[in-house]
């Protein structure tokens, strides 16, 4: 590189530094014209620095398949009865198979016609002759199973998004991961436990009738009437606060579900000032509710949430307005959260927590403070050392170092990259490593000077010989950083990002920027001796 075009290079450098500062400003002050603010953003802090929660959920898609099978087998039963095809023992096995027994050839043929016409998604897996009757195992076709699973995940994503929206977290991230996982990041969340309950609750609301004809005791003893199911509710003693479990015998058939809801709101009861959730059904739901209440006046209707009986009030009269209430001993928060999940809808399948990482805000702030202290102290140590060891040349390297830090932070802000605690460590590391490039160049220059070359030639020679070494050495660290970026998660990814950015920036400042300063002194000012 010739000693000329110093002006051009200075301009290039200034433009780059100015760009970095442009992107960096919002992180330093909010007092900027709105046009500036619109195009830029504060540096994104990772969850480990700003506090918040990281959650990985797994959608139990098999359960969604089971539910679908349940619905289809109920429908199948209805259709077979309509068509008067005789069958026995229609039930489910292992959750994913529907089994039934047919009397003979005739039934089998009629049955197959029904399958072909009405249930194309069911396929006969296998059949066996038992006691002269044919037992058939039915399963859902693979393609259908795939699509149910996929849809379950999509719907879960949507539902969770709605719930999180209502929760009021700024900048939440909800993204699918793999086939059946969902990644959720909630920065700055104050009550992680409540958030998890809200997000993970299946929130399946079902209305079922109580079976008051059969004996509850007999059922508990083991004799459950066909089609019935035992469910439990809780009763909280107002004075002692103790919870007791109460069994209920319910008719298995679900009359209405939360899907028919149009709205759910928290209301305060006039009587005791207790909060309850008032429900409003949509038009079809209102009609269904009207029918159910009309047919079952004076009977008890159980409101079941996620398999737990919430309450089982008596139907006093036919309700045609489509309004209902869920009462019970709620706190205001519980009632509000229940309203949220009912509004957002039920999850199509339960979710499991695979991974959770929560950082409290105080720890986050602590980490930021300590991280930046390390950067400052580390930088000071290096700056002092460089000047001590290389005199003025050391000072030149220090200028490069300072610009380096600005460039790194600016690049992070420009690319909306996330800064994490290991990321800050990456910056600290880069400071130490950036010195390397400078040292390589300076040592070479010293060597050239010792050989008796002129300042101009020494500088040219030093930079030229050091260049390939610098590139080689930095590329290997870059390879390691890229691998880390590929395989790392969260904080580690942040580290890889700052390390990579740091390496590139430090190469730029060491090779390009410091050269400008030297060239200025050696060509324009024509100094005879380099302070090194």
């Amino acid at each position: 590189m010739s000693g000329k075009n110093i002006k051009a290079r200075v301009i290039v450098t200034l433009v780059i530094v100015a760009t970095a500062l442009f992107f960096l400003m919002p992180s330093i002050t909010q007092n900027l014209p709105s046009a500036w603010k619109d195009n830029t953003d504060k540096i994104h802090l990772g969850l480990d620095l700003q506090g918040g929660m990281h959650l990985v959920l797994e959608v139990e898609t098999e359960k969604a398949v089971e539910s679908a099978m349940e619905r289809i087998s109920n429908d199948l039963k209805d259709v077979l009865m309509e068509e008067r095809i005789r069958f026995r023992h229609l039930g489910r096995e292992e959750g994913i198979f529907t089994t039934l027994e047919l009397a003979g050839r005739e039934e089998r043929t009629a049955f197959e016609k029904v399958l072909k016409d009405t249930f194309p998604n069911l396929a006969v897996k296998t059949s066996q002759i038992i006691d002269g009757r044919e037992k058939i195992w039915l399963e859902l076709r693979d393609k259908q199973v795939e699509s149910i699973k996929k849809f379950a995940v999509e719907q879960s994503l949507e539902t969770i998004r709605n719930r999180v929206d209502e929760f009021g977290v700024s900048e939440p991230e909800i993204i699918p991961q793999g086939e059946d996982r969902i990644l959720i990041q909630l920065p700055g969340i104050k009550d992680p436990q409540r958030a998890i309950s809200l997000i993970g609750k299946t929130a399946l609301l079902e209305f079922k009738l109580l079976d008051e004809e059969h004996s509850l005791e007999d059922a508990l003893a083991g004799k459950v009437p066909p089609g019935d199911v035992i469910a439990y509710g809780y009763k909280v003693d107002q004075q002692t606060g103790r919870r007791t479990k109460i069994p209920y015998l319910l008719k298995g058939k679900t009359l209405l579900t939360g899907e028919s809801l149009e709205d759910a709101k928290v209301t305060i009861s006039d009587r005791f000032g207790e909060p309850y959730v008032s429900l409003k059904f949509d038009s079809q739901g209102a009609r269904d509710f009207d029918r159910v209440t009309a047919q079952n006046v004076k009977k008890r209707l159980a409101i079941v949430l996620d398999g737990v009986v919430h309450s089982a009030p008596v139907i006093q009269e036919r309700i045609s307005g489509g309004d209902a209430q869920i009462t019970g001993s709620f706190t205001m928060e519980e009632a509000r959260d229940l309203a949220i999940v009912l509004r957002a809808g039920a999850l199509p399948a339960p979710v499991r927590i695979l991974e959770q990482r929560t950082v409290g805000p105080s720890l986050g702030q602590d980490s930021i403070d300590k991280g930046f202290l390390s950067i400052i102290v580390g930088s000071i140590l290096v700056i002092i050392f460089m000047v001590m060891y290389y005199n003025l040349s050391g000072a030149v390297s220090d200028i490069a170092l300072f610009l380096n830090i600005i460039l790194i932070m600016g690049t992070l802000a420009a690319f909306r990259a996330t800064l994490t605690l290991p990321g800050i460590a990456g910056i600290v590391l880069t400071i130490g490593m950036a010195v390397d490039a400078n040292v390589l160049i300076l040592e070479r220059i010293r060597e050239e000077l010792r050989l008796g070359k002129s300042p101009r030639a020494s500088i040219a020679g030093g930079y030229a010989k050091a260049l390939s070494t610098i590139v080689d050495a930095n590329v290997t660290t870059l390879i390691a950083a890229l691998v880390l970026f590929q395989f790392g998660t969260g904080p580690v990814k942040g580290f890889a990002v700052t390390l990579s950015i740091g390496i590139v920036c430090s190469m730029f400042t060491a090779i390009f920027v410091t050269r400008i300063i030297y060239d200025y002194f050696v060509w324009d000012r024509n100094i005879k001796r380099i302070s090194i």
Binding site: S197, L354, S367, G378, K465, A481, V483, F487, T489
Partner: protein, 306 residues
């Protein structure tokens, strides 16, 4: 100022046997420690589990905490002080994790709040890693190390030659094994950030090694007749100044991180510290001499083509 005089000429290569011996000893001790401890001390990132970091606003001891935890059936959790004594911060770790919504971490927090008073207990951090994710991360960690080594092998072979690459990889594995060994000896835990530190050490240690290789290549071009042994020695000496300096400055900043960075990043800084020291040593005493050993085992066909 000059720490290393320009005309320095230590017979590094002559001390090769001693250096190899020392390295071998260090490696054997490392492997022994790993075997005795039943493998590296893997954190919950890799084996799954629950970890809660709690800060008490008044004096607390592991005994009291253990009592509170025993009440909820977690009496055999690992309870460690975290950071300085005055912080009253503790780390509670158990291998169990719950995929239920009401997780173990909440039960732990509740139990402690009951025992010490809710205002006195602050949850600083919670980490729950289910077994599936733990397995995932284990695989990812190993793959990352593998890919990095392969990538580096390819790059160096391309820029230099295969035997240089082999020398470099040997130095790297030497660094990794010894760092892992020291961690094992001190009972420190392996978490994801530590793997990140290891990968950084790999990349960084390579810096030094390449600088020396570069010099060797330059010197070979300039003086083809000289025996490789001498050239290698000269090269190491010529770059000694730079090697010590760079490692020195990087050490300075890592020390800043180690002492000032706080407890969360402490082990990470420690890994970097150990790695840099061992890495510098291996760049001087292991990588280049390894090239020599390779040369004596299988000398290159043309003397000039080196």
């Amino acid at each position: 100022m000059e720490i290393i005089r320009p005309g320095i000429n230590i017979d590094i290569v002559g001390k090769m046997k001693i250096a190899f011996g020392a390295s071998l000893l260090a490696i054997i001790i490392s492997i022994l420690s790993l075997v005795l401890h039943g493998g590296p001390n893997l954190g919950i990132d890799f084996v799954g589990g629950t970890q809660v970091q709690i800060k008490f606003s008044r004096e607390a001891g592991t005994e009291g905490i253990r009592d509170a935890l025993t009440a909820i059936g977690l009496g055999n959790s690992v309870i460690q002080r975290f950071g300085y004594h005055a912080n009253n911060e503790f780390l509670i770790k158990t291998e169990r994790s719950s995929s239920e919504l009401e997780g173990l971490s909440d039960r732990i927090a509740e139990a402690l709040a009951e025992a010490y008073g809710t205002e006195n207990v602050e949850i600083r951090q919670v980490e729950v890693v289910g077994p599936k994710i733990g397995k995932d991360l284990r695989q990812k960690g190993l793959l990352a190390m593998l890919y990095a080594m392969v990538g580096i092998l390819i790059y160096i072979t391309w820029r230099f030659e295969l035997r240089y690459a082999v020398g470099a990889i040997m130095a790297l594995m030497h660094d990794v094994v010894i760092t892992v060994g020291i961690f094992s000896l001190l009972g420190k835990e392996f978490t994801l950030p530590i793997i990140a530190a290891l990968l950084t050490i790999i990349g960084y240690s390579l810096n030094d090694t390449i600088v020396v290789y570069d010099r060797i290549r330059e010197n070979i071009k300039a003086a083809r007749k000289q025996p490789l042994k001498e050239l290698v020695n000269t090269s190491i000496n010529q770059t000694m100044s730079r090697t010590i300096l760079t490692s020195g400055t990087t050490l300075l900043v890592v020390l800043a991180l180690f002492f000032l960075g706080g407890a969360v990043i402490h082990d990470f800084a420690f890994a970097l510290l150990v790695g840099i020291i061992v890495g510098t040593y291996s760049s001087i005493f292991v990588a280049s001499p390894a090239v020599l050993v390779w040369e004596t085992i299988s000398p290159s066909k043309e003397k000039g083509k080196q």
